[in-house]
């Protein structure tokens, strides 16, 4: 079992998105790095309040799409024009026009895989064990509560100072979560 003397982080609970967002701005400005906000739905403006950069998922979809299109075209050209050419109605062995629809579908297929799996990769999911998921109050993060969590692994973390900071931000409940 987990080491009880090993805290994972400090969690502060909030009632509404506006308070959470203001608190997140303060935590961001205090210079914390290993911290996060947990909300039951995506709160718009929270990325800015946390100082997050634009998500990189797009690159994964782009790579997937390019791979799909290239593979589709090459596959059809090789199968119908190189490996086993058959004359059908006097049509050319390979034409980019008739090869386009399947390649287009493959672009979308691999692009979609890119965005789903890119998202999961960037989020390091699936991760079936997480210290926060053991916490009973934290279960409300998917219901109607908002949480800010600062990890002990953050270089600026200090048991008393960090707690004081969170207390000053209008939280309704503070708790230390064990690893």
């Amino acid at each position: 079992m987990a080491d009880t003397a090993n805290p994972y982080g400090i969690i502060a609970e909030f009632d509404n998105p506006a308070d959470t967002m203001h608190a997140a701005e303060k935590v961001r400005d205090a210079g914390f790095r290993k911290w996060d906000v947990f909300t039951p739905f995506p709160v718009h403006g929270m990325d800015k309040a946390m100082g997050l950069k634009n998500s990189k998922v797009g690159w994964f979809s782009f790579l997937g799409g390019v791979t799909g299109y290239t593979c589709g075209m090459l596959m059809i050209w090789w199968m119908n024009a190189v490996d086993y050419p058959i004359v059908v109605g006097g049509k050319p062995m390979f034409s980019p026009f008739s090869a386009f629809p399947p390649s287009y579908e493959l672009t979308i297929l691999l692009g979609s895989f890119g965005s789903l799996f890119g998202m999961l990769f960037l989020n390091r999911l699936p991760r079936l064990y997480h210290p926060l998921l053991k916490n009973r109050r934290f279960a409300l993060a998917t219901h109607d509560r908002f949480f800010i969590v600062i990890e002990t692994a953050d270089p600026k973390y200090s048991e008393t100072e960090t707690r004081k900071l969170l207390e000053s931000l209008g939280t309704r409940h503070i708790e230390v979560v064990e690893e």
């Binding site: 739905f41 297929l109 789903l116």
Partner: protein
């Protein structure tokens, strides 16, 4: 955003506005929009109402619907088994007109499913917030409809053990499939459509499965929902990537949904048969798919919102908006029917002319006029607010739309086929009992899966509905904003 501005109390924006010398008035009553979730329900209420449907004791109505569905599904599989063991003769194709039942059904099922992706993807890109209440169920409908559709092309090939010839695998003589044929394009379009619909649907489900996991009372549920929610915590760093990925998936699904029915229509329009050989098909098929799809969504959601008491989430406004989309696409379909006739006359092609005069006045005139009544006349009733807000009438009309769209495919496939260039090919199509039972059986398959979906998965996107309430907007007083936001 507009909604937030509308419901913001005047006093809170006074200070800011007086500086610029402009007074912002609250909009007049008739311009105020009905909120997405009625009765100012709290965020927690939304979880309870939606997730509650998939929790607790299985209600009686569920069993009453589920058992007949399973029986019908069994009938479908029995018919398929009979077809495979005896041969395609059981569908009666001794004559070349006795073909096409499977094609009518595959096109109808795919078309009916398309509204799911349309609601999920295109309405997302268009920032239509009302999609949140209906997209999950509509996407589930898409997936199950494509499953029903997928059965027909596979079984209609006759020797289904050669079904793998459809895929890019060399056959016994090392021959590859021909990509110059639209039938091959179709294989790629439909299989991609199914896969991407599942991905899009599953991705939307991840945060909601986490809701189910956190509410689960017993170990099995906790484990199952925990497994499928992949350890979702609601982290904002995760939401940030998630929202981007969702946007990209919506962006990719939009051209996909438009291409699927276009490619299905190319199967017909690339052939030489009058009535099939038409360039209008791709846009006309897509409009028809959206039309029949919205008909299907209405037929499913109107009873559901009543039975599950979700009238505060799937509001009258949602139903009205869907009626309006049905009206718009129904009018496009009606226009396409007109243009087809015009082109048949204008082209001066005697075969084309004959094909269309025969449609309206020949042996199958009854099918043609059923189609016109259901697809052109019925949706015009949605101009009236009285009709759009009467749930029973909307339900009946939506069923008529589904019937009309089935007949549209019947008109295109069967009527065109029963009088082609060679009088020796002429005939009159009658479905066999195997045909009919197989088609009815697919409804069993559809409803079996749909009912299982209702029972085990949140039928409305919980986190998305929460996200469109004013309580979720950090700049709205209900979201906790002070002094009119910051």
């Amino acid at each position: 955003m507009a909604d937030a501005v509308i419901s913001k109390p005047l006093a809170q924006s006074d200070a800011a506005n007086q500086v610029a010398g402009i007074v912002v008035k609250a909009p007049p009553r008739e311009l105020e929009r009905e909120p997405m979730v009625r009765n100012q329900r709290s965020i927690g209420w939304i979880s309870d109402a939606i997730a509650g449907v998939a929790e607790g004791k299985t209600p009686r109505w569920w069993w009453l619907a589920f058992i007949p569905s399973v029986i019908m599904m069994t009938a479908c599989f029995t018919m398929i088994l009979y077809l495979v063991s005896v041969g395609v003769g059981v569908w009666g194709p001794g004559h070349r007109v006795m073909w096409g039942w499977a094609i009518v059904n595959v096109v109808w099922w795919i078309g009916s499913g398309e509204a799911g992706t349309l609601i999920a993807a295109i309405r997302f890109l268009l920032r239509q917030k009302w999609r949140t209440s209906i997209n999950r169920a509509a996407e589930a409908m898409t997936i199950f409809a494509v499953m029903c559709a997928g059965i027909f092309p596979v079984i209609h090939i006759g020797r289904i053990w050669f079904g793998w010839w459809l895929f890019p695998i060399p056959n016994g003589n090392d021959i590859w499939p021909q990509f110059r044929s639209p039938l091959m394009w179709d294989v790629f379009a439909v299989s991609t459509y199914f896969t991407v619909s599942v991905l899009f649907w599953y991705m939307g489900l991840i945060p909601d499965l986490a809701v189910m996991r956190d509410r689960a009372k017993n170990k099995i549920r906790k484990f199952a929902y925990g497994l499928f929610s992949l350890g979702w915590t609601g982290s904002n760093r995760h939401w940030s990537n998630y929202e981007k990925a969702y946007l990209i998936l919506a962006g990719l699904s939009t051209p996909l949904v438009l291409s699927v029915h276009s490619i299905v229509s190319l199967d017909f329009s690339v052939s030489q048969l009058p009535g099939w050989h038409t360039t209008i098909f791709p846009p006309y098929f897509v409009a028809g798919a959206v039309f029949s799809g919205f008909g299907m969504v209405l037929s499913l959601l109107i009873p559901l919102r009543r039975v599950l008491r979700l009238e505060d989430i799937i509001t009258l406004r949602h139903v009205e908006l869907m009626c309006k989309v049905t009206l718009a696409t129904g009018s496009i379909v009606g226009y396409a029917y007109g243009i087809e006739f015009f082109i048949a006359w204008y082209s001066g092609n005697p075969y084309e002319r004959y094909a269309f005069i025969n449609r309206a006045t020949g042996h199958y005139a009854w099918a043609y006029w059923t189609m016109i009544t259901c697809n052109v006349i019925v949706p015009q009733l949605f101009w009236f607010k009285k009709i759009r807000t009467n749930m029973l009438v909307v339900f009946i009309l939506s069923i008529l739309v589904n019937i009309g769209m089935w007949f549209e495919r019947f008109v295109i496939v069967v009527i065109s086929l029963h009088r082609d260039f060679m009088p020796s090919n002429w005939g009159y199509f009658r479905p066999t009992w195997v045909d009919i039972l197989t088609f009815l059986g697919t409804f069993g398959l559809f409803f079996t899966f749909f009912l299982l979906f209702l029972r085990f998965v949140p039928l409305i996107a919980i986190s998305e509905v929460k996200g469109v309430t004013p309580q979720a907007d950090p700049h709205h007083p209900l979201g906790g904003a002070k002094k009119g936001g910051h």
